[in-house]
């Protein structure tokens, strides 16, 4: 017994003690990373409640009491009025985002359904095309996109921001993978025997069955469209302030030299970030599960 001890030491105690130290060190490291992740957002929220003078003098971790005044500056100051209009920003962003999210999930589900359920000559080719074009980034086609939109006179309208949402290759890929694993064709046959038309089968049988996949993809499409700055900035070249999207307005805060009130600037940034953070708090479980699903591409 004593010999074994000298060779192996105190195996059990040693092992669990090591694990405990490692766990503690890692927990501290995770807390540190959490602080790094949240600190910029926290400073944003704190500074949104302080006056310009307070922000300029020093940094503070305790919220101030100037939030209402910052709001008033944002709404009434003539320089801010020229660059930032939160209400119309929300309205435009929500309109574009809701339309394009709906189009993305509906038509992606439709395309995936067509490719999964029916047998036709171009089935395999069309799927391969979807896979191939998944990787082409927007930036590559943007020069041609803008010049084409200018030719047909669609610049400065919302159409080029909404209609392209119909063709979302990566969403089609995801939905088709989902259907392959959990949508049986015998249901379609049963519906046919009962005299259900093909489109009705899709709307009232396939869509309800695909709800989990649709929910996940809708969330991601919503976030992507809400955060999109590149396309609107490129298409809405010279529109009035009240037709701009929210990210465009926030980015205008950066280039103007006339905006001097830091408190109001922080407040304006907070207005664009807070709604999506609140939505995230409620949907985080879904979102993280969705990212994990998309990650397994083997």
């Amino acid at each position: 017994m004593s010999k074994m001890k000298s060779v192996y030491g105190e195996p059990k105690d040693n092992y669990s003690a090591k694990l405990r130290t490692k766990s503690i060190i890692l927990t501290i490291w995770f807390i540190f990373l959490t602080v790094i992740c949240l600190l910029p957002i926290y400073i944003l929220l704190v500074n949104a409640t302080r006056t310009h003078a307070q922000i300029a003098v020093s940094f503070s971790a305790i919220p101030g009491s100037n939030l209402v005044n910052n709001f008033k500056t944002l709404a009434n100051d003539s320089n801010f009025k020229l660059a930032y209009d939160a209400l119309n920003g929300y309205k435009n962003s929500i309109f574009i985002t809701v339309c394009s999210t709906f189009l993305t999930v509906f038509f992606s589900a439709l395309t995936a359904y067509g490719m999964h359920v029916y047998d036709f000559k171009l089935k395999d080719i069309s799927y391969t095309i979807v896979l191939l074009v998944m990787m082409i980034p927007m930036q590559v086609t943007s020069a041609g996109f803008v010049s084409f939109m200018a030719q047909i006179g669609l610049t400065n309208t919302y159409w080029p921001l909404i209609i392209p949402a119909v063709a979302a290759p990566s969403v089609v890929y995801f939905m088709r993978s989902y259907m392959q694993s959990s949508f049986s064709l015998s249901i379609v046959e049963a519906a046919r025997i009962d005299g259900c038309s093909e489109f009705r089968t899709f709307v009232s049988i396939a869509i309800p069955m695909m709800k989990p996949a649709i929910a996940v993809q809708a969330i991601f499409a919503f976030i992507a469209s809400w955060n999109n700055f590149y396309t609107p900035n490129m298409i809405l070249i010279n529109v009035k302030l009240k037709e701009k999207t929210l990210p465009m307005m926030v980015s205008a805060l950066q280039s103007s030299d006339k905006l001097k009130d830091y408190g109001a600037i922080y407040c304006a940034i907070a207005l664009s970030i807070v709604p999506i953070v609140i939505a995230y708090v409620f949907l985080s479980k879904f979102i993280i599960a969705g990212v994990a699903l998309g990650g397994v591409k083997e």
Binding site: S23, L26, T27, F30, T34, C37, L38, P40, I55, A56, F59, F107, L110, G114, M115, Y118, D119, F120, S126, L131, L132, V133, I136, P137, M138, Q139, V140, T141, S142, A143, G144, F145, V146, S147, F148, I163, P164, A167, L185, I223, Y230, I237, L246, P247, V250, S251, Q254, S255, Y266, I269, S272, I276, V277, Y280, I287, V291, L293, G295, K297, E298
Partner: protein, 350 residues
């Protein structure tokens, strides 16, 4: 797929519905993505500014890649600088990001570590990824403010830590130029990009690790492997397809880096040390009327397209379904053989 009865009655075919269902996707794809892509190629063979409608052949490519006169040489130099900036910013954000995400993914999936609130940590670390990048850029611009009299929060914190000096007599801070300095601004952009994306990469890698057969980890721990050995001998080799996929998608994403470098500057002009290729293309086609450089924008886009295409093909090759591909090959071979045999007997199948 089709039932026996259907096979006998050939007249019922649902193929047309297949075409109808996938038609909207391909129509919109053609008009809003494929045609713009072709149009980019067309534009790249045409002139700039007022000569937008003149055909100039490969002139734009020649200028971008080899320069020429004084004005052309400047354009070529900006182009290569932008490629260099893109590369620097991408490498500087990818290495810390993958190191951080990989280590976090391994630690989060290690079953015998007792860490409270794993779910909470995951949720918080993914949070930056969903925030509007444009807002993030403007936020960090405020935080990094480098005005000597009223600096941003970062400089104020550095002042409290004793790194940034404060001259009480002139009431001026000895600020770090986080926005205008070459290295400092690049480091800031790398930091912001890492901050935005490490949570996403971490969750993807985590789901990859969870896909590895758990009995392998069990066997390793019974054999007395340390966690370092498990990582090197099991996790890393089995994760390599997903890792290389992450690498390639991140590269393609890095080539498109736009929001943060485009907005991270004071005043009107984009910081030349942060000008990525996407920003360059955007500036070229966005200039007003006669000053636009549509041709150069098109040519730069086409070059970018070919780089992306190569990277995309690599990703496609690495993530394809290997078993399905092999099966398909075999099936085709069998069909060929059958055809050959039937020919030998004068076209009659036996």
């Amino acid at each position: 797929m089709a039932s026996a009865a259907q096979r006998r009655i050939k007249s019922i075919s649902y193929a047309k519905y297949g075409y109808i269902f996938i038609l909207p996707f391909f129509l919109v794809y053609f008009f809003f993505q494929l045609w713009p892509l072709i149009n980019t190629f067309i534009v790249s063979f045409h002139g700039n500014g007022a000569n937008v409608n003149d055909f100039v052949g490969f002139e734009n490519y020649k200028v971008l890649l080899f320069g020429g006169g004084r004005r052309e040489a400047a354009i070529s130099k900006t182009f290569f600088n932008s490629f260099g900036n893109t590369l620097i910013l991408w490498i500087g954000n990818f290495i810390p990001q993958i190191a951080l995400s990989l280590s976090l993914a391994v630690w989060f999936t290690e079953a015998n570590l007792k860490i409270p609130g794993k779910e909470f940590f995951k949720i918080v670390m993914y949070l930056p990824n969903i925030i509007t990048a444009a807002s993030v850029a403007v936020l960090f611009l405020q935080l990094c403010g480098q005005s000597e009299t009223n600096p941003g929060a970062v400089n104020q914190i550095l002042n409290k830590l004793g790194i940034v000096g404060y001259d009480a007599a002139s009431k001026k801070y000895d600020v770090v130029p986080l926005i205008e300095g070459t290295t400092q601004s690049r480091v800031m952009v790398m930091f912001i990009q890492t901050w935005l994306w490490f949570g996403n990469t971490m969750i993807m890698l985590m789901s990859g690790i969870q896909g590895i057969n758990p009995s392998l980890f069990e066997a390793a721990s019974i054999d007395g492997a340390t966690s370092g050995q498990v990582f090197r001998k099991i996790t890393l080799p089995l994760l390599s397809p997903i890792l290389s996929y992450t690498l390639v998608t991140s590269m393609i994403g890095g080539l498109q880096m736009f929001d943060i470098p485009y907005l991270f500057h004071n005043g009107q002009i984009v910081n030349k040390d942060l000008k990525t290729i996407a920003v360059l293309i955007y500036e070229y086609f966005h200039a007003q009327a006669d000053e636009n450089k549509m041709g150069y924008a098109g040519a730069a886009s086409v070059l970018l397209f070919f780089v992306t295409l190569v990277l995309g093909c690599i990703a496609f090759y690495m993530t394809r379904d290997k078993d399905a591909a092999a099966k398909k090959k075999q099936r085709r071979k069998m069909a060929k053989q059958l055809k050959k045999e039937s020919k030998q007997f004068g076209g009659f199948s036996i």
